[in-house]
């Protein structure tokens, strides 16, 4: 009997696995991290079953390691994401993401009268609260809270 052809999502030798990404935000994570612009080998799975998230995504990036401040940029869209750092096929470190103190260019200011919604201005926020995330706009000084948060 012929062995069934198998698409293997093999373990990576060196790189980063990002797990527990909410399925609906997979492509936002890809965009925020700029994974669509690099040459590394990347595999991702989405709509995988997850007890915690319902449906989750997982991203495996070969040969790439993130600085904390870079990876924390996904905290708004994937607050429960867990990172496995792989070296020589072994998980050598696990990390969780943390909401940073300030956020640049990811969220949209909810104030329709804010300059960032009129002209080409990169949004900037000071994080006022990390648990139930609330952001204070660097420009109009208004607060955008989690319920009204839109990711650009």
């Amino acid at each position: 009997m012929k062995e069934p052809k198998q698409m293997s999502v093999s373990a990576i030798e060196n790189g980063t696995v990002i797990d527990h990404v909410p399925a609906k935000n997979l492509f936002k994570v890809i965009q925020i991290l700029g994974l669509d612009k690099i040459d590394n080998q990347i595999t991702f799975g989405t709509n995988l079953e997850s007890k915690k998230l319902g449906r989750k995504s997982i991203i495996k990036i070969s040969g790439l390691f993130f600085q904390d401040e870079d990876i924390n940029r996904i905290a708004l869209v994937a607050p429960d994401a867990k990172l496995n750092i792989i070296r020589d096929y072994e998980v050598v470190e696990k990390k969780v993401v943390e909401v940073p103190d300030s956020i640049t260019g990811i969220a949209k200011c909810m104030n329709p009268k804010c300059i960032t919604n009129y002209e080409t201005v990169t949004t900037r926020f000071k994080v006022m609260s990390k648990k139930n995330v609330s952001l204070k706009c660097h420009y109009c000084e208004k607060i955008t809270n989690q319920e009204n948060m839109h990711i650009i």
């Binding site: 009268k113 300059i115 009129y118 002209e119 201005v121 420009y139 109009c140 607060i143």
Partner: protein, 302 residues
Amino acid sequence: MKNRSLVSIDDFSTDEIIKILDLTEEFEKQPTSKLLEGKVIATLFFEPSTRTRLSFESAINRLGGKIVGFSDAANSSVSKGETLNDTIRTVTNYCDLIVMRHPIEGSARFASEIATVPVINAGDGANQHPTQTLLDLYSIRKTQGRLNDLNIFLVGDLKYGRTVHSLMMAMSRWKATFNFISPEELKMPDEFKYYLDNLGLKYYEHNDFTEIISRADIIYMTRVQKERFSDPIEYEKVKNVYVLRDAMLKNTKPNMKILHPLPRVNEIHPDVDSNPKAYYFEQALNGVYTRQAILCSLLGIK
């Protein structure tokens, strides 16, 4: 403070605010000089504000500076569709400092980041109007002889009024006690009350001028605008409750002064004007000296 911009009152430390107020005192004694001779100041008013613009222009003229600018976006390249970014990048080449009023919130911060000269925010939508706050602080200090431990009454539209928000935040640096007097629909927003809670400062909320008016050191009046009410009947009900009349001032403290950012409509009855406790027109005059002090500080002249 040389080459800094003034966008929000929080851009200045308490020491820097005091420095501005001290300098304002100097300009009050000597408002006319040649300190700004050879300087060109741009006054960009993307929305009309006669009072603020004339106050700035008077301040500049008295110091011998020259003015370029416009008083209405209709008279500028904005009407041709130019972005604020392009207007600022162009005008920054023509002048030593930009004074800007713009209806969009955050526009002044944005302008200060792209201009190569200092920017003074003369009002960005409902957000900030720091020169008004500084002239209010000057008026309070001048009439009370201090800023510490005063009882400040804020009256009228406390929900949308940016002047009262900025003044409240600024006065909280000097441990003020606040009394908020407003209709239910225009109450001080919770975020500002939390701010005071966190500082451990006292505040009281009322729906009308009560007996406690006798405790006020400063009564800061604002306009209750009809447009702010979803129900016009509500407006009709409350519009006369927030009108200050001379008879109400009988038992007020001798040091008490009435301030108003102007323009006034009907919230201060004209019979108050002749009362020595009415201070709003002097307050407007103080605005000229305050703006002279701010201009000279940011240009590094004083």
